[in-house]
């Protein structure tokens, strides 16, 4: 695919929070003071030496970073290219989500917030949020769709054990979108003392940019590690799954302005793009506004948000972050639609080939390898965003 690259800065967020046509802060006035407080302060807070020291320290000693970049030999032989796995599944709590929650809890503390609210789909972000709240002694409320509470039970138990209150979101499809609605409503009702830790590169500006900055550690490490292992910083491809797009944003971040690195995003096609049970946003969506930003959105002709479907709770979302909408729109990113079946196969395959059980979300990224027409000389980094323990009850149905 040909990519016409715009100037260097074009993948950076503008002052008003836009990536190309996408982004912004479409929020009710009730949220304006909170979001504005965050917007005015986040860059300065993140730049503070004391913040950086604490953030780095926690990433090292608590999260367990840097995560390994693992050469998957048997998978490489199968696929016919050199495949590295960036092992975010080895982060404390089992997914990349904690990179963001560590960053945001430190921001919340510096803004003087006493309570945290968050949404969760797969429960990984909920667990990562509950974890940092326990670590810092802050009250924690997690909204989770009733459907997801059922299919991700181990994570619900973990959140409770960590001291969080898990509240079911019962509206709509009772999945991630609805949990996000409830978390936003909670934030409207509790504007002064509460910080909303959004779990992906979605939401009103500055969230997409802030979350991307915290996840950027993934590609920062990848560059160094790849240089050591392959003598080059840049792979030919970086592959990641996209729900809202935070692990992908982190895995792509330091490669956005490296045109030789192709950025591959795997979206959840559910039963198939045309099946009516899908979450393949770029294949099915149009520009629209959801959860505070203009992005690509699955919706009806009338602009009502469509209920998405995916076997993976973390990808079961009708939008994508505005950065990804821009990557798609500009051609910088290449998007693949991966069905439930493809993802399940890829999940079982990695388990048997490499002894790593991936999260169902991550399995979508692995499945994309089969569609990419790779050659022997290609070096590919797959963001292994999380481990599959939470998905065992789904996987075992297909054993």
């Amino acid at each position: 695919m040909q990519t016409t690259l715009e100037p260097q800065t074009s993948f950076e967020v503008t002052n008003k929070g836009f990536y190309g046509h996408f982004g912004g802060a479409f929020i009710p006035e009730m949220l304006y003071p909170n979001v504005e407080e965050l917007r005015q302060n986040y860059l300065a807070i993140i730049a503070e030496p004391s913040f950086q020291a604490e953030f780095q320290n926690l990433l090292t000693d608590y999260v367990g970073r840097p995560t390994p970049l693992f050469l998957a030999k048997r998978l490489s032989a199968q696929v016919g290219a050199t495949i590295y796995l960036k092992r975010e599944d080895l982060c404390h709590t089992g997914a990349h989500k904690i990179n963001n929650t560590i960053g945001q809890i430190l921001v919340a503390q510096r803004l003087g917030k006493k309570r945290i609210v968050a949404e969760t789909g797969a429960g990984q972000h909920g667990v990562a949020t509950a974890t940092v709240c326990a670590l810092m002694g802050l009250e924690c409320i997690i909204y989770m769709g009733s459907v997801d509470i059922e299919r991700q039970k181990p994570n619900v138990d973990r959140m409770r054990m960590l001291g969080a209150e898990v509240r079911p979101a019962r509206s709509g499809s009772q999945t991630l979108k609805d949990a996000t609605n409830e978390a936003m409503r909670h934030w409207i009702n509790n504007p002064v003392d509460t910080h909303y830790i959004i779990g992906s590169v979605v939401g009103p500006h500055p969230y997409p940019d802030m979350v991307a900055r915290f996840q950027a550690v993934i590609s920062l490490e990848t560059r160094k590690q790849l240089l050591e292992k392959e003598g080059r910083e840049n792979p030919d491809y970086v592959v990641a799954c996209v729900g809202g797009g935070s692990n992908a944003a982190g895995a792509f971040y330091h490669y956005l302005n490296e045109p030789s690195v192709r950025l591959i995003a795997a979206e959840a096609a559910g039963h198939g793009v045309e099946s009516g049970h899908s979450a393949a946003t770029t294949a099915l969506g149009k520009p629209g506004v959801l959860h505070g930003s203009r992005t690509i959105l699955m919706q009806t002709e009338d602009g009502q948000v469509t209920e998405p479907y995916s076997i993976s709770a973390g990808l079961d979302y009708p939008g994508i972050g505005p950065l990804h909408a821009h990557l798609f729109d500009s051609g910088r990113g290449e998007f693949y639609s991966i069905t439930d079946d493809d993802a399940l196969k890829a999940g079982f395959n990695l388990s048997k080939q490499e002894g790593i059980i991936p999260a169902l979300e991550t399995a979508h990224a692995l499945a994309a390898l089969n569609y990419m027409s790779l050659t022997e000389s290609d070096v590919v980094v797959v963001c292994l965003s999380g481990r599959g323990d939470k998905d065992l009850s789904t996987y075992t149905k297909y054993l």
Binding site: F26, P28, G303
Partner: protein, 261 residues
């Protein structure tokens, strides 16, 4: 700034006290109830109405209004149908009509086409909570002005004085004061914190009239709001009333009487 003159500005020129506006969801409880409810409210003597454009993800609304939105969507309500239902409403409805809803359905309809339709059927203004006023000014104001459609902005207790002044500057018609930091239907009663905020805003002597909404659900809260502002909005309480007592003229009259005696 161009001051748009229409039924809203005319209303405030004539009347500045104890204004009552009632919110209801288009196409609720039945698809064809929009006109029935509109007529009932005019007969019952409310000063103007906000007709809710139903949306799948109304993040600023509590359960009651969410549910009415869901029912209306199931009934098949959409903007095209709403404009059809309102097409000849000006033959019988003289009070100002505002549409209230979220930005995405308006974007898909097309902002210009939307404003044109509003003008055509006699809608005077809109309230779109997730269209922040900076974005409105940058992107859409010229279109709204072209068709004489007012866009009403909200302020909330945490809105700074400076921002309130700025909103007052760019607003025509009136300002919607959200009574507390809350979604619709989630507060009952008026607290001291709310009173302090009402007083703070009253003392600012804004150029626009102010109406208070969210949490106004009976005579007492209505009267309190009217001590500090030009009037108030009722939404959730009316939706509940429609659920329980139906859409007959008598039912609507008794609801309105229970708010403004």
């Amino acid at each position: 700034m161009t001051l748009t003159q229409n039924r809203i500005t005319d209303l405030f020129a004539q009347k500045s006290e104890r204004l009552l506006s009632v919110y209801f969801t288009a196409g609720y409880p039945q698809l064809t109830d929009t006109r029935t409810v509109l007529r009932g409210l005019q007969q019952a003597g409310v000063d103007f109405v906000e007709i809710g454009m139903p949306y799948s993800d109304p993040v600023a609304d509590g359960e009651t209004i969410q549910q009415s939105n869901g029912v209306a969507l199931e009934n098949g309500m959409n903007l095209k149908t709403l404009f059809e239902q309102l097409a000849d409403c000006r033959t019988e409805i003289s009070m100002p009509i505002l549409l209230m809803g979220y930005i995405n359905p308006v974007l898909q309809f097309g902002v210009e086409a939307f404003c044109q339709k509003c003008q055509e059927v006699g809608v005077d203004g809109v309230i779109v909570p997730d269209l922040p006023f900076d974005l409105f000014v940058d992107e859409y104001k010229t279109i709204f002005d072209r068709y004489g459609i007012l866009n009403i902005f909200m302020i909330a207790p945490q809105t700074s004085d400076a921002r309130i002044r700025f909103i007052d500057e760019v607003s025509d018609g009136f300002i919607y004061m959200v009574s507390s930091a809350s979604i619709t239907g989630s507060v009952s009663g008026i607290s001291d914190t709310m009173l302090a905020y009402f007083e703070r805003v009253r003392a600012m002597n804004l150029r626009n009239p102010r109406l208070i909404g969210f949490g106004i659900n009976n005579q007492e809260t209505f009267e309190t709001a009217c001590q500090f502002a030009n009037g108030a909005f009722v939404g959730t309480a009316f939706i509940r009333h429609l659920q329980e007592k139906g859409t007959s003229a008598g039912s609507i009259q008794s609801f309105v009487n229970s708010i403004r005696a």
